[in-house]
C-alpha cells in the first residue's frame, strides 16, 4: 500500500477525473481538490490513532465463507433484456467503440 501524500493536489484530482472519464473544467478542479482534501482529512484523523495491534480489515462484518452451491439458477429472457438496451444488433448489445482495452 502506498503512503498517503500529505495533501491531495490538483494534479491528483485531474488524474482521477481522467480515470473516471469525468471532464472537469478549471473551476471544478479547484473546487473538488478542496472538497476531496477535506474528505481525506478524516482518513488522516484515523491515521493519527495507535493501530499497530489492529489487523487490517476488509469488512465490518465478522463473517467469512458465504458460499453458494454450483447450481444453475434462472436466466433472463434475451428479448426482454435487449429491448431495454439503447441499441442492439445480431442478438447482441451494440455499443460505441471505446478506446482502450479490457484488462
Amino acid at each position: 500500500m502506498r503512503a498517503m501524500p500529505a495533501r491531495i493536489t490538483r494534479d491528483d484530482v485531474a488524474h482521477v477525473a481522467t480515470l473516471a472519464r469525468l471532464a472537469l473544467d478549471e473551476d471544478e478542479l479547484e473546487r473538488f481538490t478542496g472538497q476531496l482534501a477535506k474528505v481525506l482529512q478524516h482518513a488522516a484523523d484515523v491515521e493519527a490513532l495507535e493501530l499497530d495491534d489492529v489487523p487490517p480489515t476488509s469488512h465490518p462484518y465478522p463473517l467469512a465463507n458465504v458460499l453458494r452451491p454450483d447450481l444453475p439458477g434462472p436466466t433472463l429472457e434475451r428479448a426482454e433484456v435487449l429491448a431495454a438496451a439503447p441499441s442492439t444488433e445480431d442478438r447482441q448489445f451494440k455499443v460505441p467503440t471505446i478506446l482502450g482495452e479490457s484488462p
Binding site: H59, A64, N65, T75, V95, S102
Partner: protein, 505 residues
C-alpha cells in the same frame, strides 16, 4: 557491488531469476549477447456449472446473451455470491502445485469498458487464495508460481469494421455469456528462460488443470489464455530489465514465436541506445511481430479496493486437506512412473503424449503383461491414438508386440493387425493368420535373400566390397527387392542381418 533495494513481486516477495542450461541467449545486430527473462500469466476458466457470483450457466458456445441474469448484467440492487465449486477448484489447483492456500479477499478492479456492465471486475488483489507453488517441466526445469487468484471473466466484444481490431472499428457488439465466468489467473515467477520452456510450462499447466478437472484445457476455445511478460538483459547479467506484456497468444506456437520476436526487438532497442518502454503489446500472427497496444497503466490506476458486497474466503483446513487427499496422481509423477516401467527417458515426447492422453496405465499394463516396452509405447503413441485405441486390452497389445519382436510379424504387418484388433476381438495371431501374415520361416527368408543376391551380381559385388556409405545405400536396394519378392512379408531388420552375414561369409 553496491546493494540496491531488492525488487519485489506483487506480494512483496523478492524477485529471483534462476539460471538454466537451456536459457535462450542470442546475438543482437552489433554482436552483443543477450538473454531472455520471461514470466507467464495464464487465465484458466474454471470447469463449473455456473458463474463466479451467480447461478447463470457457464457454458461455452451457447446462443449469445442467453446465459445472463441480473448479476451478470450488473443490474442495480444485485449482489454477488461466491461459487463454492470455484473456490474448491482453486484450492485443488493450489494443492496440485504445492502452494499455500491463504485466506483471501475480493477487490474491485475499476475500468471503463463495455465488456463488464458493472464497469468493474471483481478480482483478488493483495490477498489471493493461492500463493507460491511450482511446476516441474519434463526437462527438469522448475518454474515457480507467484500466485493464483480468483476473478470473473469479461464479456466477449466483437469489433465491427476496422478489420476486427478496436482501432478503426465503427462499433462493437457485446455478448455477456462469458461475463462472470469463474477464472483462475495463474501468475508464474520470471523463471521461464526460453521460448521452449514457455511452451513446455503452458503444456504442463494444461496437463495439470486437465488431470485435476479444474479446466477443460481448450486453448482454441479460449478457456485458457496466455499473456507473456518478456524482458532481456546482457548475457550473464543479473539485472531485471523493463518488461513488456504480450497478448493475443492463441497457441503454443504463437507463444514461442512471440517471445523470441519480442526479446530480439527489445535487445535491438537497447543496442540503438533507446530504452524499452513498459507497455502492453499485441502479437500479430500474420506479420510475426508485436505491436504497441497501450502503455502500461500503473496498478493504482485500476483503483482496487475491497469489494464491499463480499466477505473474505477463509477455507477450513479440514476442507483443504480433504481436497488435497482426493487429488489424482499428477502428470509429472505419472511420467516418472511410465518412464520407470519402460526404461524410456522421462523427458521423451512419447512419455508426455501417453500421459496427456491418459494411456500411460494401458502402456504400463501391457509392459507388465510382457510386452517389449519400446514397442508398446510406440504402438500406443502412433497407432492407438484414434477412437477405441485407449480401450484396447493391454494383454492383447502385449501379445501382438510379442509376435512382432519374435519376428513373426513385420512392423508394418503389426500395425495392420493392431488396427484390426480394435474391432475384431480375436487373438492377434489369429488375425495375422487370417490376413495371410504367416510367419516367414528363417529358411524361406534366407532363400528369398539368396535369390535376390543371385539376380543382381553387380550390386552384390558393390555391396560386398563397398564402404559403409555404399553399403548403406545398397541395403535399401536389396531390402526393397526382397520385400517385393516376398510380398511384403519379410522383416526388414532380418533381411539386413542376413545380407551382412552373407557379405561377411
Amino acid at each position: 557491488m553496491t546493494t540496491t533495494s531488492q525488487p519485489t513481486d506483487s506480494l512483496g516477495q523478492p524477485i529471483t531469476v534462476p539460471d538454466s542450461a537451456d536459457t535462450f541467449v542470442f546475438d543482437a545486430s552489433d554482436g552483443s549477447r543477450w538473454e531472455l527473462v520471461c514470466g507467464l500469466e495464464v487465465h484458466a476458466e474454471l470447469a463449473t456449472a455456473t458463474k463466479m457470483f451467480s447461478g447463470a450457466p457457464n457454458n461455452f458456445g451457447d446462443e449469445p446473451n442467453t446465459n445472463i441474469d441480473p448479476v451478470t448484467l450488473g443490474l442495480p440492487g444485485t449482489l454477488p455470491v461466491v461459487n463454492e465449486r470455484a473456490v474448491e477448484l482453486a484450492i485443488r489447483f493450489g494443492c496440485a502445485i504445492g502452494a499455500d492456500i491463504r485466506p483471501s479477499v475480493f477487490s474491485r478492479k475499476n475500468y471503463f469498458y463495455p465488456d463488464m456492465p458493472k464497469d468493474f471486475q471483481i478480482s483478488q488483489y493483495d490477498q489471493p487464495i493461492v500463493v507460491g507453488g511450482h511446476l516441474e517441466l519434463p526437462s527438469g526445469h522448475v518454474v515457480g508460481v507467484e500466485r493464483a487468484h480468483l476473478e470473473e471473466d469479461t464479456g466477449k466484444s466483437t469489433h465491427v469494421g476496422g478489420q476486427g481490431r478496436i482501432t478503426g472499428a465503427e462499433y462493437s457488439l457485446v455478448d455477456y455469456n462469458r461475463a462472470g465466468v469463474p477464472l483462475l489467473e495463474i501468475v508464474s515467477r520470471p523463471h521461464v528462460r526460453s521460448p521452449e520452456q514457455a511452451r513446455s510450462y503452458v503444456a504442463e499447466l494444461r496437463a495439470i488443470l486437465l488431470a485435476t478437472g479444474v479446466n477443460d484445457g481448450k486453448l482454441e476455445e479460449g478457456s485458457m489464455r496466455v499473456d507473456a511478460n518478456v524482458s532481456v538483459r546482457p548475457e550473464g547479467s543479473d539485472e531485471l530489465g523493463t518488461r513488456c506484456e504480450i497478448k493475443n497468444l492463441n497457441s503454443l506456437r504463437s507463444l514461442g514465436r512471440a517471445i523470441e520476436h519480442e526479446a530480439r526487438r527489445q535487445a535491438e532497442l537497447r543496442v540503438a541506445g533507446e530504452r524499452v518502454r513498459q507497455e502492453t503489446r499485441h502479437w500479430n500472427e500474420a506479420d510475426g511481430r508485436t505491436h504497441t497496444m497501450r502503455s502500461k497503466e500503473e496498478a493504482d490506476d485500476y483503483r482496487y479496493f475491497p469489494e464491499p458486497d463480499l466477505v473474505p474466503v477463509d477455507p477450513d483446513p479440514a476442507w483443504i486437506e480433504r481436497i488435497r487427499a482426493a487429488l489424482p496422481m499428477l502428470p509429472a509423477a505419472r511420467r516418472a512412473r511410465l518412464a520407470g516401467a519402460s526404461g524410456i527417458d522421462p523427458a521423451a515426447e512419447s512419455i508426455a503424449v501417453l500421459v496427456e492422453r491418459g494411456q500411460d496405465e494401458q502402456a504400463r499394463a501391457a509392459i507388465a503383461a510382457g510386452g517389449d516396452p519400446a514397442r508398446v509405447v510406440v504402438h500406443i503413441e502412433q497407432n492407438l491414438a484414434g477412437p477405441g485405441g485407449a480401450d484396447l486390452d493391454p494383454s492383447r497389445l502385449a501379445a501382438l508386440v510379442a509376435l512382432e519382436v519374435g519376428g513373426q510379424l513385420t512392423a508394418t504387418q503389426a500395425k495392420q493387425v493392431l488396427a484390426e484388433m480394435l474391432t475384431d476381438p480375436a487373438d492377434p495371431a489369429a488375425i495375422a493368420a487370417a490376413r495371410g501374415f504367416e510367419a516367414m520361416g528363417t529358411d524361406a527368408l534366407a532363400a528369398a535373400v539368396d535369390g535376390v543376391v543371385a539376380a543382381h551380381p553387380a550390386e552384390w559385388e558393390a555391396f560386398r566390397t563397398g564402404d559403409a556409405k555404399a553399403r548403406g545405400k545398397l541395403t535399401g536396394f536389396f531390402v526393397g527387392r526382397v520385400m517385393k519378392a516376398t510380398g511384403g512379408q519379410a522383416d526388414g531388420k532380418a533381411v539386413t542381418a542376413l545380407l551382412r552375414q552373407r557379405a561377411a561369409g
